[in-house]
Amino acid sequence: MNQRTVLTYLAAAIVAVAMGNQTASAQQDSGTAAEYPWSGYWWAHEDGGLTGPLAKYDKVFKTQTAAWERVEHVNRANVQSWFGHCHAWSAAAVTEKEPRKPRTFQGVEFGVGDLKGLLTAVHAQDEANSYGDRFGDRRGTEDKSDLSPDEVWRLLQLYVKQRNIPLIFDLEAGDEVWNYPVYQYEVNYTEVGNGVINGTMDLVVADDDVEPDYLGTQPGVYSYTFTCRMQNGSMVSGSGRWTGDSVDDHPDFAWYPYVARAENPGIDAVRVSQIVGTGVGGSDNPPDGDDMDHNSDDPPDDVDVPPSDDDTPGPADPVDFAGLLSPIEMVSLIANKTSHFGLDIFVDRNDGGKYRAGEPVRVAAESDKEGYLYLFDIDPQGKIHLVFPRPGEPNLIPANKLVDIPARDADPWFTAQGAGEHHLRGIVTTSPLTLTGFHTQIARKDKEKFHRGVQKMRVPPATQERISKAIDGFYGAKSVERKPTPKVKAFAQDDCLFFVTGKRSE
């Protein structure tokens, strides 16, 4: 036998051993809550907070809760754009049944949004079991990374996997607090040797950027990368570290409501449950009458909370991750030059065309393959806006046919906004995507300035920073490409430049 043959056999054996090891190391852990938390509006303070629902509550019970809300939240000095009741909505969304129909109580009509708002008010000061120190409150360790990824994973196992209970996370690593209930997770990890594992963590959350009357759960997805260490078959607590972009963009703290408390002194949970028509805070049944002594320090006798039992419902149908993209994954499609087939995108004034602020922009697209078209406007600040499809709009386009967006006889909704250089990025995929992180609820003060139909991205600041870095890197001098997410198998893309001159039209 010659040397070449021996080396061939040796190489084959080494490959077999390596493949065996690789296959054994790649693992996945996932969990889904039994019920999805319901999406609801986060009641931004600069948008009036909870004054709408509270005014109706006051009408019934002759209280001053809306006035309190105005004084304590809405009319305070230096209200920032992120101030709101996302914590209270999160607590209500996980602990309470979703109100699904409007109700009339003592002659006052309460819409679904009003009912959700009142449930939010009941939970505005809940006692909670919390994990990790909140960064930016000038208390505690002020360590941005104190909630290590292995601790996040442990908590997800404890709550979501083992008991099918969602867990609320502040997903902003910096000073601001952006609370979302996580109801599904997936951790993919590989042991790379010496007990070290590298992993990715995807969290599916109920989004709060919806109209107050929204029904159901609008999903959001956030993705992170990490490393940690195993010893004797267990993850070593505290050994985890966020890696890559996740060093600056990761969950800050986690919590679950334990004892319900309203912040507004005029809000009474019994009265809210009478309006909502269901028990509040762990009870299926609304109380009879309103004879509770609200001023007593003694616990009420009429606690109609059914006892817990061990027959925990199993997980709900998990959200299919396959087409569900986090904002970072979506950006990975934009920030690269990969194209598996041909696509051409045009604006009506051609590549490099100029528009005055407020002028309509008409788009045309032609793809070599049938697929699902997505159009993004990347503005001079690097912010991404979803131009097409609008919510609920079909976006399947045929192969080899020029398609107008909008149709020639339809009114355009996409107008030139923001002076400077814009990139219109078109992507066609062979299977549909669910894009998350886009703004379906537009704050009142923006409604006039932003054309209906185009969706802005609304994500925590650290995630936005990560996105901006990727966009700047790609469109900058060095044209740094990102590796496209493996969730999208085949896609095509094209870019079209246009300029907006003058101020944004009022």
Binding site: A13, F83, A128, D137, I165, Q231, Y258, S308
Partner: protein, 287 residues
């Protein structure tokens, strides 16, 4: 003249030899892993019996719990969602009533089952239980309940420790301070411990349920506490007669967090606890 060797036989022998070599290498790599595991276990054991003493250990006696004994604890938690710009609202305390319900066999160990009732106003008032090893005072399991979509749902976590080293346990339920220290003899040099947690009842196997267990390193120091220690306890919760019933200050550290407990001899529960988010003190006890 020698007859020529069969080339096929030669290839076969070579393939077997090389494969044997490859498998031997794989086995040796795995053996190295196992050796590393044993080394790691040895390290854990050594840590548990560490000769490096941070402070002279005052020791901590396990409380005497009789079935039927009750006591009340009051807790106050920080508002994690509060902002400086928002008006300062004094956190509202919550009272919890503890009762030693019975001695129960849990996964082969006799444990006190202690039931805890939330006495707060409001409609979510979780009921909780802890199981504490009768001999060692080790917290083997806790169970509490959370409101989920209109109903109360149970949550459970169980704990285990290396042989001979009952560890302090820090549970995820930090609004209700039920962390328990290791009850160690005075002068004990053990101040570092390792325990594992799993989100399942004691006695179940994590792998069978598709769960991953987590190993926690915890440190503990126990020192005699003088009258100065009382200053951190709210006036209404300060224990009396510390001359006859001395105080021990216990500090439990894990994952960057520190839990401070002050135990008084003869009391069923720490007279004061601060876990960084929640402060609690013993209000009353009864036989």
């Amino acid at each position: 003249m020698r007859s020529p060797r069969s080339p096929i036989l030669g290839h076969f022998i070579a393939a077997v030899a090389i494969s044997a070599f490859a498998f031997a290498a794989m086995a040796a790599y795995a053996q190295e892993d196992r050796v590393e595991d044993v080394r790691a276990q040895g390290v854990a054991d050594a840590v548990a019996q560490s000769e490096e003493v941070v402070a002279e250990n005052a020791g901590l006696t396990q409380p005497k719990w009789d079935v039927g004994k009750t006591w009340t604890v009051e807790s106050v938690s920080q508002r994690i969602q509060g902002r400086e710009e928002a008006p300062a609202r004094k956190p509202v305390p919550i009272r919890w009533q503890f009762r030693v319900a019975e001695l129960e066999n849990l996964a082969g160990r006799d444990c006190y089952r202690i039931e805890i009732e939330c006495l707060a106003r409001g409609r979510i008032r979780p009921k909780s239980m802890i199981w504490v090893d009768q001999k060692s005072g080790f917290l083997r399991q806790y169970k509490t309940e959370l409101a989920v979509a209109g109903r109360m749902r149970p949550m459970i976590e169980s704990y285990d420790h290396a042989k001979g080293a009952a560890a302090p346990i820090v549970t995820p339920v930090n609004a209700l301070p039920i962390a328990l220290p290791a009850f160690v003899a005075p002068g004990s040099k053990a101040n570092s411990f390792v325990y594992t947690s799993a989100p399942m009842p004691a006695g179940a196997k994590a792998k069978d349920l598709g769960l991953v267990t987590f190993a926690h390193e915890v440190t503990q120091t126990a020192t005699q506490a003088g009258p100065k220690a009382l200053e951190i306890i709210p006036a209404e919760g300060r224990p009396k007669s510390i001359e006859q019933n001395p105080l021990t200050e216990v500090s439990i550290g894990t994952g960057g967090e520190t839990i401070t407990q002050i135990w008084q001899q003869g009391q069923p529960w720490p007279v004061f606890v601060d876990n960084g988010r929640t402060k609690a003190y013993l209000v009353s006890e009864s036989e």
